[in-house]
């Protein structure tokens, strides 16, 4: 068997695939962050908590109303997104005319409160969430055993990312949105309800976090801390990709998943710091991130 740096090529392919799967979570989450930042200029630190709420929503739907995974995939993001809308209407809205930092602090504090409440109620060891029966099992690809569910995660995330990119960059609605961020007063003058559009955009970004939470529930425990662990990494991904760049966050999300997966083979101890090392290097040479533009 041939090897690359002492690692069998077969194992390497396996790790690449695993990296792509983790990358899909990074991509969906950083996409939500980018949408919110790009269009609202809010650094949404509550994104991790909202991701966790997505997983919990799936859990509650199953426990209380018997709605399984497929319903959860539809309903949970709506519930979490609605929650985001309430948050935007009642709190975030008041901060638009202030510095970015205020939005960051508000959402960060909000995340701490939500996570604290869930942890107090449900403990920290997590709750089990069963995999949908249709996606249980897996197939042997020769070089690795690929669980069907993880394959589904890649496909679904890619679809979601590209769909979002298409709506924002290629449709009329997307062009309204982009115009509204450039010059809200002018767009309003054309009869577009800008405040409502902003609210819905925030709700959509939050819903993306909710979807990622539902996707994560069968893989990880449904855990109050799941968002707190992930959000810092996702922020690094967004910074590397360039804050606000839609395509940037999708591409870096997947790429960094792969880089992290490879680190787990070659030097596992560094696997949770490698992304930050890359972030530092990128910021040295391109302060606006790989795909970012100066504003």
């Amino acid at each position: 068997m041939s090897t690359v740096f002492g690692v069998p090529t077969q194992a390497l392919f396996g790790q690449l695939l695993i990296g792509l799967i983790n990358g899909s979570f990074y991509a969906v989450l950083s996409l939500g962050l980018s949408v919110i930042f790009g269009l609202l200029n809010i650094i949404n630190f509550a994104h991790g908590a909202q991701y966790m709420m997505g997983a919990f929503a799936a859990y509650f739907l199953l426990q209380w109303s018997g709605l399984g995974y497929w319903w959860a995939l539809l309903v949970a993001p709506i519930v979490v997104g609605f929650f985001g809308i309430v948050l935007e209407r009642t709190m975030i809205r008041r901060l638009y005319h202030l510095d970015h930092l205020y939005g960051l602090l508000l959402t960060f504090g909000f995340a701490l409160v939500i996570q604290g409440m869930f942890r107090h109620q449900f403990g920290s060891s997590g709750l089990p969430y069963a995999m949908p029966a249709q996606l249980a099992g897996g197939r042997n690809l020769g070089f690795m055993f690929l669980p069907n569910y993880r394959a589904w995660v890649i496909v679904f995330s890619l679809g979601l990312c590209l769909g979002t990119w298409y709506v924002i960059e290629r449709t009329k609605l997307g062009s309204y949105l982009r115009a509204a961020t450039e010059n809200p007063a002018l767009v309003q003058a054309f009869g577009v309800n800008v405040p409502r559009m902003v609210t819905l955009t925030y709700g959509f970004g939050v819903a993306l976090a909710g979807v990622a939470g539902v996707l994560a529930a069968p893989i990880y425990q449904v855990n109050p801390l799941m968002g707190a662990d992930l959000i810092i990494v996702v922020f690094a991904v967004v910074v590397i990709g360039g804050l606000g760049s839609i395509m940037g966050s999708i591409i870096t999300g997947f790429t960094l998943g792969v880089v992290e997966g490879l680190t787990k083979v070659f030097y596992p101890e560094a696997s949770n710091t490698v992304i930050f090392v890359i972030m530092a290097v990128v910021l040295l040479f391109r302060p606006t991130g790989l795909f970012g533009q100066d504003k």
């Binding site: 920290s124 060891s125 069963a130």
Partner: protein, 403 residues
């Protein structure tokens, strides 16, 4: 009203107390429960340990005996610097006499050293590293519930003897994981088994798929999980997804707690083998304790860590009562002198190196069909007698033990 009565009672008792009471520094015995209250070890220790310490004080009848006992608690966030700062603050400023629990071996080793410097008392219930009674042993520390040597020998022996002779380790990359991996590897090699590989992951890892893939590729019969809490449950859960057990490999959970099994659910945890020193459903006394404990801890039943905190605090208070002093070094010496006896671990002793000695149990997790009531999770496969459960005193290199 209740409060007023208590205050009056306390004042009366303070006057009635004999002169020896003056030996208790500032008149209060202060116990600090220091652990992870918010992270991946919060359920297996956390708030439950505070409940256990309170129950120990109440059951001891401290108030009726004229002893004023206070309990404080803090979150060390699994950081040795945070834990050390709290321990110093407690000892120097807040007049804490005893620190208990302290999961995370890195933090516990630091606190043990500080306790020694300040001549206070430290009872470890949840940190696992066997170094606490080995080369890092201290006259001010008692290691109560279990340690990596006991876990490694209990589980390692049983697994190797039933045919699991080739191992791959997935290890948490800090003091605890390293100690557990080292002690288990020694057992595997001693029994003629071999270790095919190991991988070390950062504490609190979400995704184990890369590590599981490496374990799968190693073709080892047994995948030893030298980690704990959320790390263990994540690894086992994702292992099921990657068909590890279906593919003929088995997990050996080297440190698994009742709360981990609860979080996994029996469907995923069934058949898992590991070692514990306490199970709530062993006899009437443990069941009675568990019932009272669960009522005060969101229904969560006690882990062996909670039991260790209860038993450790009980024994500490007995020693303080006998000695009529809360001088840390003297109390720990007295604790070693007195035989231990509590409803949860039964009769036992504390050795010169600080190791508490009691039996250990090899546990197998029940199938969902075998579980009859809530929290009915374990089958006790074997009892490891007290004299075999822990490392012989002359093999730990503890400087307190005279050769």
């Amino acid at each position: 009203m209740m409060r007023k009565t208590l205050i009056v009672l306390a004042v009366l008792l303070a006057f009635a107390a004999d002169p020896a009471q003056a030996q208790i520094s500032d008149g209060v015995i202060k116990i600090g429960v220091l652990n992870d209250q918010s992270g991946l070890y919060a359920d297996l220790a956390g708030a439950g340990s505070v409940v256990a310490a309170r129950m120990a004080v109440e059951d001891f009848g401290a108030a009726a005996k004229g002893m004023k006992v206070e309990i404080v608690a803090a979150d060390h966030q699994n950081k040795a610097d945070v834990g050390s700062a709290i321990a110093r603050q407690w000892y120097d400023v807040d007049k804490v006499d005893l620190i208990v629990d302290v999961p995370n071996s890195g933090v516990a080793l630091a606190v043990s050293q500080i306790t020694r410097d300040k001549a206070k008392a430290f009872i470890v219930s949840s940190a696992a590293t066997s170094d606490l009674t080995g080369k890092a042993c201290s006259p001010n520390t008692v290691h109560w519930t279990y340690d990596t040597w006991a876990l490694a020998n209990g589980t390692g022996n049983a697994v190797v003897k039933t045919g699991g002779d080739s191992w791959f380790f997935i290890t948490a990359d800090y003091a605890f994981g390293h100690a557990l991996e080292r002690d288990t590897e020694a057992v595997v090699l001693k029994n003629g088994g071999k270790v095919l590989g190991k991988v070390r992951h950062p504490l609190s890892t979400q995704d184990f798929s890369s590590f599981l893939l490496q374990a799968q590729a190693s073709k080892a019969k047994v995948i030893g999980l030298a980690n704990a809490g959320g790390d263990t449950t994540n690894a086992i859960k994702q292992g099921a997804e990657f068909g590890i057990v279906k593919g003929g490999q088995n997990f050996a959970g080297l440190l698994v707690f009742l709360t981990d099994v609860h979080a996994l659910g029996l469907e995923k945890a069934q058949g898992l083998l590991f070692t514990e020193t306490f199970y709530w459903d062993m006899n009437d006394k443990t069941r009675a304790f568990a019932k009272r404990f669960a009522e005060r801890n969101r229904g969560i039943h006690p882990t062996m860590i909670h039991a260790g905190v209860y038993a450790g605090v009980s024994h500490y208070l007995k020693a303080v009562e006998a000695l009529k002093s809360d001088d840390g070094t003297k109390v720990i010496a007295k604790m070693k002198e007195m035989p231990t006896d509590d409803p949860l671990f039964g009769k036992g002793t504390i050795r010169a190196d600080g190791r508490k000695i009691h039996p250990a149990y090899l546990i197998e997790v029940k199938k969902p069909s075998e579980s009859k009531y809530a929290w009915d999770y374990y089958k006790i496969r074997a009892t490891i007698p007290a004299n075999e459960a822990f490392r012989p005193i002359d093999q730990g290199d503890c400087p307190l033990v005279k050769k």
